[in-house]
């Protein structure tokens, strides 16, 4: 059942992605100021919005672990954070490539970009810290605290281009202000859906691995006890 669900989500996500790429590259016209390169938007923004969705789930499950001490919540947290970190890397790299073309620079230390990089590094730190703690309860508790602490950066990333008196190189918000051409809405939504489906499949794969790893830990303890 679980494997079927993973395959279904993965295949559906890939099909939506292929259909969407066809629309993005062959149906949409070039943007007047940027030319063809604006199409990076259709992977750059969905990647970060999906990353934040998975990070929000990880925040909830981290809080749930601390209050219930059930390991399933810790497994969901790590699965979501690992997929979200990969999506954040996609966001940072595609943004940098777009910036090199449009601004003439790969990187600038403005609030939006820097807060996003810090967010990525915080969650990368979470993933690197986990193998360093051998005791499962201690590892899960520490991870939950770091997961909650790291999430504090997410609202900052979102607010970075909306705060008054903040000068930023990053373009302003276009989704809620209606600054995006209506013909971009469908490919943008499908890009979101495709990455969400693929991301969910990857979270399920990672969740299964974490469950197997716990089983390995318990068998090892059992063998040592004998």
């Amino acid at each position: 059942m679980r494997e079927k669900l993973i395959y279904a989500l993965g295949i559906l996500g890939t099909l939506v992605m292929i259909y969407n790429l066809h629309t993005i590259f062959l149906d949409l016209p070039d943007e007047a100021m940027q030319g063809a390169v604006y199409r990076i938007l259709f992977i750059h923004v969905p990647a970060v919005l999906n990353a934040f969705t998975f990070l929000t789930v990880a925040l909830c499950t981290s809080v749930a672990f601390l209050s219930t001490k059930k390991f399933i919540y810790d497994s969901i947290s790590v699965a979501c954070i690992e997929v979200a970190t990969a999506f954040m890397l996609v966001n940072l790299v595609t943004g940098s490539i777009w910036g090199r073309n449009q601004w003439g620079i790969w990187w600038t230390w403005d609030l939006r970009l820097t807060s996003m990089l810090i967010c990525f590094l915080l969650y990368l730190g979470y993933l690197l810290m986990r193998p360093a703690i051998a005791e499962p309860t201690q590892r899960a508790t520490m991870s939950a605290f770091i997961g909650i602490f790291a999430f504090a950066d997410v609202p900052l990333v979102i607010m970075a281009i909306r705060l008054p008196n903040v000068r930023t190189q990053h373009p302003g918000p276009v989704l809620e202000t209606g600054g995006m051409d209506p013909s971009f809405n469908a490919p943008f939504g499908l890009g979101m859906l495709a990455l969400f489906l693929i991301g969910s499949a990857l979270v399920l794969v990672r969740l299964h691995q974490e469950t197997s790893r716990r089983e390995i830990d318990s068998i090892r303890r059992e063998l040592h006890a004998v």
Binding site: A36, I43, S212, L223
Partner: protein, 55 residues
């Protein structure tokens, strides 16, 4: 837009999507190889437990 700018834009568009898909593919490959390792270890430990139970 002049032809050189159009070609540069297309080049960067290609770089952007290539990088995105390479990162995702790399992540999937890491997951698959880690999954294989975990499954092998689980199988090995289970057979070890079975052997101990027999003896």
């Amino acid at each position: 837009m002049d032809p050189t700018a159009i070609i540069t834009n297309l080049k960067f568009l290609f770089y952007g999507y290539s990088a995105a898909f390479l990162i995702l593919l790399g992540f999937v490959l890491i997951l698959v190889s880690r999954g294989r390792r975990i499954d092998q270890e689980l199988k090995r430990l289970k057979s070890l437990v079975e052997d101990k139970d027999k003896t």
